[in-house]
């Protein structure tokens, strides 16, 4: 019961944050809204028993990636978004498509709901840091190492791109 209440509270915060993200015209507000969404998602992860993912969500996403966003916003001194011409495709194809997507998602979830499924929550047998470590450094060792290469490449790419020309 407590889980359900907490879920609804943080789901509501999540959606409110996401809607605020869209509603705000200043990018920094959007970024902060996203941080709110991320924080609530971290709580939801905790509700699902994924403590490690929750902590990583905060440290990496909220603490590193979003800081980068905020930095860039500050650096470029991005002002309030200007209203330029409309994109007819975005309005008349994109938005109806998104509506359809939402409809389809709801429809399929309703279908799914009929086949009774168990509720889910934290599982004491799952989600300990050790187990994730075993997976990460055992079964997924190669992908893990590859991600480190990926990050190295991303760092170099970022440096090359953001550096001003030599001359």
């Amino acid at each position: 019961m407590l889980h359900l209440i907490l879920f609804f509270i943080f789901a509501a915060v999540c959606i409110a944050g996401a809607i605020n993200l869209l509603a705000q015209s200043h990018p920094i507000n959007s970024a902060l809204s996203l941080i709110v969404v991320m924080g609530s998602l971290a709580v939801l992860y905790l509700l699902l028993g994924a403590e490690f993912v929750a902590a990583i969500q905060i440290i990496i996403y909220a603490g590193a990636v979003m800081v980068l966003f905020i930095f860039v916003i500050m650096l470029l001194n991005a002002g309030v978004e200007e209203h330029s011409g409309k994109s007819y495709v975005a309005w008349f194809i994109g938005i109806p498509s998104v509506t359809v997507l939402v409809g389809l998602a709801v429809y399929s979830l309703v279908l799914y709901q009929e086949k009774s499924a168990p509720a889910i929550g934290p599982d004491p047998l799952l989600g300990s840091v050790q187990e994730i470590a075993h997976l990460l450094f055992g079964k997924f060792l190669l992908p893990f190492e590859v991600t480190s290469v990926l990050i190295l490449i991303a760092i170099m790419g970022a440096v090359v791109l953001a550096r001003r020309g030599e001359s």
Binding site: C14, V72, I95, A105, I120, A162
Partner: protein, 100 residues
């Protein structure tokens, strides 16, 4: 205890909000933020399924998604800075040519 469908519904809503943001926002940074929102929505599905299937693989995938998101953010923001230097605007509607 919460039914899986709730999580998935929340995930779908967040994802669609991200797509919607992509469609209606004009600031390139905000659009980028919307991409992050979509990634987060997907992560929520992963974690929910992980709990549902009692399988930790999905959480490892979340980890990878985060790594990719971090790399993408670094490179993407560097690109945004480079674009801003040449165009002096962040409005995607004004950045619609491949050459200056």
């Amino acid at each position: 205890m919460v039914p899986l469908a709730y999580y998935l519904g929340l995930s779908a809503i967040l994802f669609c909000l991200g797509v919607l943001g992509f469609l209606i926002k004009r600031n390139i940074i905000t659009i980028f933020i919307c991409i992050e929102l979509m990634l987060n929505a997907v992560n929520l599905s992963f974690v929910a399924f992980s709990a549902y299937l009692k399988n930790l693989n999905a959480q490892v995938f979340v980890f990878f998604v985060m790594v990719v998101a971090a790399a993408e953010a670094a490179v993407g923001l560097a690109i945004i800075i480079a674009v801003f230097r040449t165009r002096e605007t962040l409005n995607v509607d004004r950045v619609n040519l491949l050459k200056l």
